[in-house]
């Protein structure tokens, strides 16, 4: 499991962001902590984490433009 710093504006966006990241291919589970501005991500085995995170950010941005993920 890896922890990333994130930025997200509102609590509801955080929920939606979590959904979006969870649905990304290569991600087994994700957990967004709105208050601490952190996200825990569990990857599926053997995936290129950087590539997966890029896609995850793309999916998250579809929900809300202002989302940032540090990776």
């Amino acid at each position: 499991m890896k922890t990333y710093k994130i930025f997200v504006d509102c609590a509801n966006c955080a929920n939606k962001m979590e959904e979006a990241v969870k649905k990304t291919d290569g991600i087994a589970d994700a957990n967004v902590n709105f208050m601490a501005l952190k996200m825990n991500v569990e990857f599926e085995e053997g995936v290129d984490e950087k590539k997966v995170m890029k896609q995850a950010l793309k999916n998250a941005r579809k929900v809300d433009d202002d989302i940032e993920i540090d990776f």
Partner: protein
């Protein structure tokens, strides 16, 4: 305020001022309808352009039900119905709500960051010429020597090698009374050095040190979500689409029915009611306030020296109904002391001398307490033929005498007549040259607050308190009577403790939980078997931090009650917020549908409720007086 927030505030003020002017203007003069529309568009766009823009982009991506879209539809609809003031006002208040939420959330993040400001930034290392160099503590290997000056934070766990001082551990334990340290005392990172310069040899790496571990734990705490948090996520998922669907029905169904029955359709009236629905539909109040409450509660608790490892445990803690204590180290100090020497025919000192020499090779706490009571240097050359009989005691040859020290089983085995003792504690019988020579009573001291803690739990409505111990029945009953627990189980092996906790678990009512409190040593199986494992004296004990769900940083049993109270307060606030927000919204929906509530009331239902819920949630942070 951050720049983004300042900008939002400026837009709100400008729009509000323009609205005021326009309100007066339309009241006192008779402006053309189109001009008025154009004029109202200025504050509307000033305050709402970003919402409109996001809504348009959202539609492009198929994100229909986000709050931007709802607000855009509601306000555009109102303007089309020529309700200019209401359309702009909804947007204005929506933005005020958003700004407020962003400030409140930012503030509590900051508050908690301040409370948890225990991360040391640097460590001082002595250079070859004797000057101090500041280095990144992460680069230091265990075993390095660091210097801590008065006023500085201890950066890494270690042992004092030089200097004396007192440390303030309050950021770690919530206890503000300073602790004195001298060479050989261990120090925990995160403590503040108050008076003297200390040289410390580190025993851990920075990442494994107390401060880093606590921070990691607190920061990850809210990733374990409580049931009520999951409920909210699910609720929000269905609530918004449901309300939007209801709004569509409300806009079209009644007018169509009216048309079919030959009445006037009243389109604009029903559309207006549908728009009110949309304004109410945003679940923001609950979605923001619930995680905020848990975050605040966990942050406040950690400042009081109570680490709660997740929102789910907050919920379990609030429902605790049975508290099971381990005796040693939890209700008692775990320091065994000789409390009585009942001797005959030898003198007290002589008996202790023989006992101390007999026990001199044992590392058992009992042996240590006898050595301490003897208090004089030993003469190892006097001791020979030491034999330790497990579960019985020790026999040895000391200074020419055959000495046996142990429990009643040892005496029976050796066939020695002994006197039973009525004192509470562990009894070490002594026999010298085959004759009974009296016994030594060793007992553990109660912690200062044990009795108060049990009484406090009762007062807080805990139904049952139970004490488990491996100690003998008499000692257990004595301690139990003194602290006032309801039930005692003595003479237990670690595995028996699990069995008893399982039996007690079966007896707890549905929706109520059982907490086990231990000192984290040898308790791991029970800690994980109970609904909630509470470890005490977590400061410096990795095992405790690992195994338990709630860690009390110092070993004061009063903290258990405080933890329960914090959890209850937090859950109460969460429940109030959920009930209040959903209640008000449903009420407004009903009133809106029948036409009693207008858009102004809808704004209150949305923004007003959100502000109230957020303010209420922030109360979770304040736990000092609990």
């Amino acid at each position: 305020m951050r720049r983004k927030q300042k900008k939002a505030l400026a837009r709100i003020i400008i729009a509000a001022a323009l609205m005021l002017v326009l309100g007066l203007l339309s009241h006192f003069t008779n402006i053309n309808e189109y001009v008025l529309f154009a004029l109202y568009m200025i504050p509307y766009l000033v305050v709402g352009y970003d919402v409109l823009w996001k809504a348009i982009k959202g539609i492009g991506r198929g994100q229909v039900f986000d709050e931007n879209f709802l607000m855009a539809i509601a306000t555009v609809g109102a303007i089309i119905l020529q309700e200019y003031t209401e359309g702009v006002a909804v947007m204005l208040f929506y933005q005020i709500g958003e700004l407020f939420q962003s400030i409140a959330v930012g503030k509590s993040r900051q508050n908690i960051a301040d409370l948890m400001d225990i991360r040391p930034d640097y460590a001082n290392v002595e250079a070859e010429d004797g000057s101090l160099v500041q280095v990144d503590p992460d680069t230091l290997e265990p075993g390095s020597v660091i210097v801590i000056q008065p006023g500085e934070k201890v950066p890494i766990d270690g042992v004092v090698t030089e200097g004396t001082s007192s440390l303030n551990n309050s950021a770690l334990t919530g206890e503000s009374l300073p602790v004195d340290v001298a060479p050989d005392s261990s120090v925990n990172s995160g403590a503040i050095n108050l008076s003297g310069v200390l040289k410390v040899r580190t025993t851990k790496a920075f990442g494994e040190s107390t401060a880093s571990r606590i921070l990691e734990l607190v920061e990850n705490a809210s990733s374990r979500k409580a049931k009520s948090e999951n409920f909210i996520t699910k609720f929000a998922k269905y609530y918004t689409p449901a309300v939007v669907a209801a709004a569509v029905l409300l806009a079209f169904l009644p007018p169509v029915i009216r048309l079919l029955t030959g009445a006037d359709a009243l389109w604009s009236q029903w559309i207006y009611r549908a728009l009110t629905f949309l304004v109410i539909s945003c679940p923001c109040a609950i979605v923001v306030s619930v995680p905020l409450s848990f975050f605040g509660g966990i942050g406040g608790a950690s400042n009081a020296g109570i680490l709660i490892k997740g929102s789910n445990y907050m919920e379990t803690l609030a429902n605790v109904d049975t508290v099971v204590f381990d005796k040693t180290g939890t209700l008692t100090k775990g320091n065994f002391e000789v409390t009585g020497v009942h001797h005959s025919p030898l003198e007290e000192q002589e008996l202790l001398r023989l006992a101390a020499h007999t026990e001199s090779h044992s590392s058992h706490p009992i042996a240590k307490s006898i050595l301490k009571a003897y208090g004089k240097p030993l003469q190892p050359e006097l001791v020979s033929d030491v034999e330790e009989i497990g579960g019985h005691g020790i026999t040895a040859r000391v200074d020419g005498h055959e000495v046996a020290a142990g429990n009643d089983r040892l005496m029976n085995r050796l066939g020695i007549d002994f006197h039973d003792c009525h004192s509470i504690g562990t009894i070490v019988h002594m026999a010298v040259d085959g004759l009974y020579a009296g016994h030594i009573v060793i007992s553990d001291e109660l912690k200062e607050h044990s009795r108060e803690a049990i009484a406090g739990l009762k007062e807080a409505g805990i139904r049952k308190t139970v004490m488990l111990t491996g100690d003998n029945e008499a000692t257990a009953q004595g301690v139990a009577a003194e602290v006032g627990v309801d039930e005692v189980h003595a003479g237990l092996l670690p595995a028996d403790k699990v069995t008893i906790v399982e039996q007690l678990l079966e007896k707890t009512a549905k929706g109520e939980t059982l907490a086990f409190v231990g000192d984290g040593i040898n308790d791991a199986p029970v800690l994980s078997r109970a609904d909630l494992g509470i470890a005490m004296g977590g400061l410096g004990s990795d095992a405790a931090i690992e195994a338990a769900d709630v860690v009390l940083m110092d070993d004061d049993p009063l903290k258990i009650r405080k933890a329960v109270r914090i959890a209850r307060k937090c859950m109460r606030i969460v429940k109030t917020n959920i009930t209040f927000a959903i209640g008000v919204k449903l009420l407004c929906l009903v009133l809106g549908a029948v036409g009693i509530a207008n858009m102004w009331i809808a704004i209150f239902a949305d923004v007003g409720v959100m502000i109230l819920c957020v303010l209420n949630a922030i109360r979770c942070l304040f736990v000092r007086k609990l």
